[in-house]
Symmetry: C2
Subunit: 258 residues, 2 copies
DNA sequence: TCATCTTTGTGCACGCGTTCACAAAGACAT
DNA sequence: ATGTCTTTGTGAACGCGTGCACAAAGATGA
């Protein structure tokens, strides 16, 4: 099917909106699930529901790819999986290094999402000499001294930073100097990078704070009657030393009291 | 200094743009750092640089809070820390449950970001009976059977899902039924929730795929399709990680509202 | 008191993203 | 072949977020 494609939109690739790019992985996931169930085609309506978005938005997104749906029928699942994978650059193998093998780093190393689609953990790097050689997720941890070496030998262009905040910028600088041009930052810090380097950040505490904002607003709107949460939360609050203390959110937390 | 604050705008709380809310935690972090260094006041320019945003944007953001800067001087650090904390609802203590204590769940439980500002891990929950009673981050893991019990007893309104994708929706349904109205989802699935429940998702594989897209585009721009080879060519600026000073702009926050 | 200087707060314009609504395109049945 | 029915692709309008640029506000000094 879809053999006689005269030519692809090609030049269109340039202008894919950022918001659309951010949704492509979502579509890809839904499509992959359909593919595994051997569903041949899917309508924008169905796929949109599966991806949790608006169908008009989905169609517009696909239109940027030079979408190839069939009116009256829908989209060919396999074909779309291929197109999106290609567009996202997942048809090639991306070696990735993870720096900072603490709890989070180890969790990331073990995360299946890495290996599943186009990504390969090329190395795990940690500053602690005691970690060197220790296997995590089947890969021996290497010392930070090897960083530049590893990046170059493996042609790594994507790095994941899971170090404490205090070390993040320094690690970032070294990664960039060694040739990394895309960074996924889990450390709660603002990273400064030269032009041409992409940084995306994942920050748990920020996400929680945003939720807290909305949660508070809900409680206020409802006159504090909705969930039996607000009332309880206020009354309760055991011990906890003068929480006036805002720890340096950067350093590895010494497990909380309680 | 800046003591005679007469009254606050109060009613303004309603109309804070979502984009602004998402940046408040960023400002708060920068301000907290300043506070620890006992810096009394800060200008929008300085604070913006520390938070990695545009100064005009920052001023506009603060204006939604009914900002209280002093022209010709800047903002009072302590006062602003308090205002933002209050706006985000961090002056109260939010009990949080983490469901799914695998690698990621354990990492989250150990993460200092939780305890540092207004959040308290009320319980760790896992479906594996073998995990029950086992201490993680100083807290004994409880079995899923206790979920509803825990939520109610502790007045929990925020839940974190770190289970495998397959279990996420079911866990989500139970959390919501028990009274949770805000969910932070780490499972790679689209969660369906009733109106009034907020869901924010953190998805590693999506973040990586977005990076891969840009990485591929960089490589393509350079002419060849050599993944890391071309990348290195672009980043051949040797050393000098000193100060390339460039706003980390051009990239959007990691997660957007579902 | 007045002039000058710094920095905030915001009106305005612009661009991006979302959504609606519908014409065009194709499948399918007769 | 022709008509009907389904679903795509997109033009257009709208709303939100961003950044510029400047007037207003207050500090500071003479």
């Amino acid at each position: 099917m879809a053999t006689g494609r005269t030519h692809r939109p090609a030049t269109r690739s340039r202008g894919i909106p950022e918001a659309t790019v951010a949704r492509l992985p979502l579509y890809l996931r839904a499509l992959t699930a359909l593919s595994e169930r051997s569903v041949p085609t899917v309508s924008s309506e169905e796929l949109a529901a599966a991806a949790g978005v608006n169908s008009a938005k989905l169609r517009k997104d696909f239109s940027y790819l030079g979408s190839y749906g069939t009116r009256g029928v829908g989209y060919d699942v396999e074909y779309l999986v291929y197109q999106i994978s290609r567009e996202l650059g997942l048809t090639q193998d991306w070696p990735v290094v993870i720096v900072g093998i603490g709890n989070l780093g180890a969790a990331l190393a073990n995360y299946g999402g890495f290996a599943s689609r186009g990504f390969r953990v090329a190395a795990l790097i940690d500053a602690d000499p005691a970690m060197a050689g220790k296997p995590v997720a089947g890969i021996a941890v290497q010392h930070t001294d090897e960083l530049e070496h590893i990046i170059e030998d493996n042609g790594v262009s994507i790095g994941v930073i899971a170090t404490p905040a205090g070390a993040a910028q320094q690690v970032c600088d070294r990664l960039v100097a060694a040739g990394v041009t895309s960074i996924l930052n889990f450390a709660p810090t603002v990273l400064t990078v030269p032009d041409g380097v992409d940084v995306r950040k994942v920050d748990l505490s920020i996400e929680l704070q945003i939720l807290a904002f909305h949660e508070q607003r809900k409680a206020g709107d409802e006159g504090a009657v909705a969930p039996a949460a607000a009332a309880r939360a206020a009354a309760d609050t055991p011990a906890a030393p003068a929480d006036d203390r805002k720890g340096p959110d950067g350093d590895v937390p010494a497990v909380m009291p309680a």
